[in-house]
């Protein structure tokens, strides 16, 4: 019956095979072949994931576990029960949905990459990394225990590092890769601690244990999917257990702030845009960064046991949403705007989780994957076109030896005319890039929450749940939605409308079908993807109203029941009005200035304190550098100059000095004169003789 589910191990296997082939033989294969292998591997996994999805949909309440192989067992010790860890897949609505998103979006991005990376010399290396990433990501979302999840978690971190630093000859890319890796490691410590705590206090790392022999509530552990009344009792009745659960979930969330780029560990994501654009789309917009939301939803039954953690999640989430949106308002690099919008949207998802609306969070994960992948790939198409145009101009100018470096990362007051990512060089691209423009426009409508596009439904669900919890949360959320509409339309206007701001912008050309086809598919999904989760007020007339939430209930829990200050319909109307107003406001404001500077003339920008503050991302990077990097260096210098030189070396040298002093004393006896040795020989003989005589006469 569940043929696809029982063989779900095939899903991660396909990309693994692709990775192995491309990894070992990629350099010998033709570009076409290695690109095809990589793409087909992911689409094969997608096909299988569809089968799994329909089997799960037949009865979403069943948690299927698929044992692949036993891993290891920790014997019982110190009163803790034995711990068995298996390579085991957990297939339930949550993982089925994630499988579809990862393989579906991933496949489209692979297809896009075959064209986008066509001229890159690291072509097969790129597909090797992409396949490896997909493999680890699938492991992450299907693992039935925290450890297996963690293997995937670390694996995607590794791939993220490799792919951000894909163009490692470029120092900014290598630096960004290191930054992403290190910041993620800081978060991963939290997940590790959470695993230790889960083992120590609950004796299990399993998410779901369907084994009947383990149904004893004391050994079943806390990580099970369904809330165990025994454990609820255990936690609510003993304050110590409550503290344990709170700390454990906070540690998990700490890991999520790293992986999913939330305050305070979000700083790596904007820099991660140094990687090739398909990577930005796949890893840093659509899939990997949602791993944190997935993990929180996966462990929702524990998170819900600690209101403290839930409040932290909600507050961090909504603060990140607002904070990142304000930075997105002034960035000039097209990919950086998208990066901050990703951080901001992830904030929404965590805010939803924080108020208990895990299924709404996952819904937004899905719609966000559609429209953000589309936007990222669209921006890639724009950059690709601009790059070619700039390249042609340079060849034309025959500027021999002129370097072709992508000067990103730095914040400049005026645009570098050779920077293909700077929106101040663009404008008026609409006529040359019609498909890119159309798909990005609908995705912009989706992310802004214009009614009846996909993002509208998911964002409305989140805003509704936020309002049910606290009016303040809703207000911040609505404000963020307004800012989102504004900066996304700003991006669109500066890129596609108005007059071209450079000669290069006039000579761009649309890319090949392998770029435009994924864009079109994603754009379509960005329009219609929301209809599987539309609100009940419309859904009663349709067969699939709120169907996603219902589908996810067994895995992600029921949506919270709150009492908002307004009716659902009024909230819906308000958020629609906000979205439309701000998108339109942005459009007409920029139209009036032909896509130029809106409020502050370029000449005054360096002097405007607020503008500089936001443009430089509130100097958070500088603060981190000062406090952590410089602080770390200061501590290391102290340990080196004072502790190591003074203390450690002091001990070693001290031991040496004492030995040398003693040796110096003893050395006086070694005169080298034969007679002195003969004399000591004589003394020795005398002593022995006297001792013998004394012994013979029983003298004392």
């Amino acid at each position: 019956m569940d043929f696809f589910i029982q063989n779900a191990w095939l899903i991660p296997l396909f990309p693994l095979i692709g990775f192995l082939i491309n990894g070992f033989f990629g350099s010998k294969l033709e570009k076409k072949v290695s690109g095809t292998i990589g793409t087909v591997a992911v689409f094969a996994a997608f096909a299988w994931a569809i089968g799994v999805f329909f089997e799960v949909q037949a009865d979403p309440t069943i948690h299927h576990t698929v044992l692949i192989a036993p891993w290891f067992t920790v014997p019982a010790a110190f009163g803790a029960p034995p711990l068995t860890i298996n390579w085991e897949l957990l297939i339930d609505p949550l993982s089925a949905l994630m499988l579809l998103i990862i393989t579906g979006i991933g496949g489209l991005i692979h297809l896009y990459s075959t064209s986008y990376m066509a001229e890159d010399k690291g072509y097969s290396r790129f597909f090797t990394y992409l396949n490896l990433f997909i493999f680890f990501m699938l492991l992450l979302v299907t693992g039935n225990n925290l450890l297996m999840m963690f293997v995937g978690w670390e694996g995607v971190g590794l791939c993220s590092y490799l792919l951000i630093g894909f163009w490692f000859e470029k120092k900014s890319a290598a630096d960004a890769a290191k930054k992403a890796f290190i910041v993620n490691r800081i978060g991963d410590v939290g997940v590790l601690i959470a695993m230790f705590m889960a083992y120590r206090y609950f004796g299990t790392l399993d998410f779901y244990n369907g084994d009947a022999t383990h149904n004893d509530p004391s050994t079943q552990g806390l990580l099970v999917q369904t809330v165990n009344p025994y454990l609820v009792h255990l936690v609510t009745s003993v304050p110590f257990n409550f503290a344990v659960v709170t700390l454990l979930t906070l540690m998990v969330f700490w890991g999520c702030t790293g992986k999913s780029a939330q305050i305070p560990l979000y700083t790596w994501l904007p820099d991660a845009m140094e990687g090739p654009t398909p990577v930005s789309a796949l890893i840093h917009a659509a899939t990997m960064v949602t791993a944190g939301v997935y993990l929180v939803s996966r462990m929702h039954s524990i998170f819900e046991l600690s209101p403290v953690t839930m409040n932290v999640v909600a507050i961090i989430g909504i603060s990140t949403a607002l904070f990142a949106a304000t930075i997105g308002l002034v960035q000039n690099d097209i990919k950086r705007v998208l990066a901050y919008s990703t951080v901001s949207q992830l904030g929404y998802m965590f805010a939803a989780c924080g108020v208990g609306a895990f299924s709404a969070g996952m819904f937004h994960v899905m719609t966000h994957a559609f429209f953000k992948a589309c936007l990222s790939l669209g921006s890639g198409a724009v950059i690709y076109a601009m790059e070619h145009s700039i390249h042609h101009r340079k060849e034309h100018e025959a500027a021999h030896g002129a370097s072709h470096d992508l000067n990103t990362g730095t914040v400049t007051a005026t645009a570098d005319p050779d920077d293909p990512q700077d929106m101040r060089n663009m404008g008026g691209l609409k006529s040359q890039l019609p498909i890119t423009h159309a798909t990005m426009l609908v995705s912009t409508f989706a992310i802004a929450g214009i009614p009846f596009f996909s993002g509208f439904f998911s964002k409305d669900e989140i805003l509704g749940d936020l309002a049910g919890r606290s009016t303040l949360l809703w207000l911040v959320g609505a404000l963020t939605a307004a800012l989102t509409g504004f900066y996304m339309m700003r991006l669109m206007y500066k890129t596609f409308y108005g007059s071209p701001k450079s000669e290069d912008a006039k000579h761009v050309h649309e890319a090949t079908p392998s770029v435009t086809v994924p864009l079109t598919i994603l754009g379509t999904l960005a329009v219609i993807g929301g209809y599987i989760g539309i609100p009940e007020m419309f859904g009663t007339a349709l067969p699939f109203g709120r169907s996603l939430s219902h589908f996810l209930i067994p895995a992600a829990g029921s949506p919270p029941v709150g009492h908002a200050f307004l009716s659902d319909f009024a909230l819906l109307a308000i958020s629609s009005i906000i979205a439309i107003t701000f998108v339109a406001f942005s459009y007409y404001s920029y139209k009036a200035k032909d896509g130029g500077d809106l409020y502050i003339p370029a000449a005054e920008k360096p002097k405007n304190f607020v503008y500089q503050l936001v443009l430089n991302k509130y100097y958070i990077d500088e603060v981190y550098n000062f406090v952590f990097v410089a602080g770390g260096k200061a501590i290391a210098t102290f340990l080196w100059k004072v502790f190591d030189v003074g203390f450690i070396d002091g001990i070693v040298n001290g031991v040496a000095s004492v030995s040398r002093g003693l040796g110096g004393l003893l050395r006086a006896t070694q005169t080298g004169y034969v007679r002195n040795y003969a004399f000591s020989l004589l003394l020795g003989v005398l002593i022995v003789v006297i001792a013998c005589i004394a012994g013979a006469h029983n003298l004392p």
Binding site: L666, G672, F679
Partner: protein, 104 residues
């Protein structure tokens, strides 16, 4: 015919005196030739003891050992003189006070 034997103690005292003279010579003399002579004195003091005891106990093995000692002493002197000649060739001096290369 019975000749009044010299008592054993006399031999032993003489031997002790000879040995002490030898030791003193080894310790205080600077000329290696004299030191060798002193060593011979010590050896022969011991030899005297062996012979005395041999006679006293009416046991020939003591005299046997004396022959061994004489043979070994001859070998030792030849080796020692060889060393001294080598040192002289290297240093043009055989002053024992200058031989201190083993000093620590």
């Amino acid at each position: 015919m019975e000749v009044a034997a010299v008592p054993l103690n006399y031999y032993l005292i003489l031997s002790g005196i000879l040995f002490t003279i030898g030791v003193t010579g080894v310790l205080i003399k600077r000329n290696p030739i004299v030191i060798f002579m002193c060593i011979e004195l010590m050896l022969n003091a011991v030899n005297l003891t062996f012979v005395a005891f041999s006679r006293y106990h009416q046991d020939l093995s003591g005299q046997l050992i004396v022959i061994f000692v004489l043979a070994v002493a001859a070998a030792e002197v030849s080796v020692g003189l060889g060393i001294i000649v080598s040192i002289f060739r290297a240093r043009v001096s055989i002053n024992i006070d200058e031989m201190d290369v083993l000093r620590g």
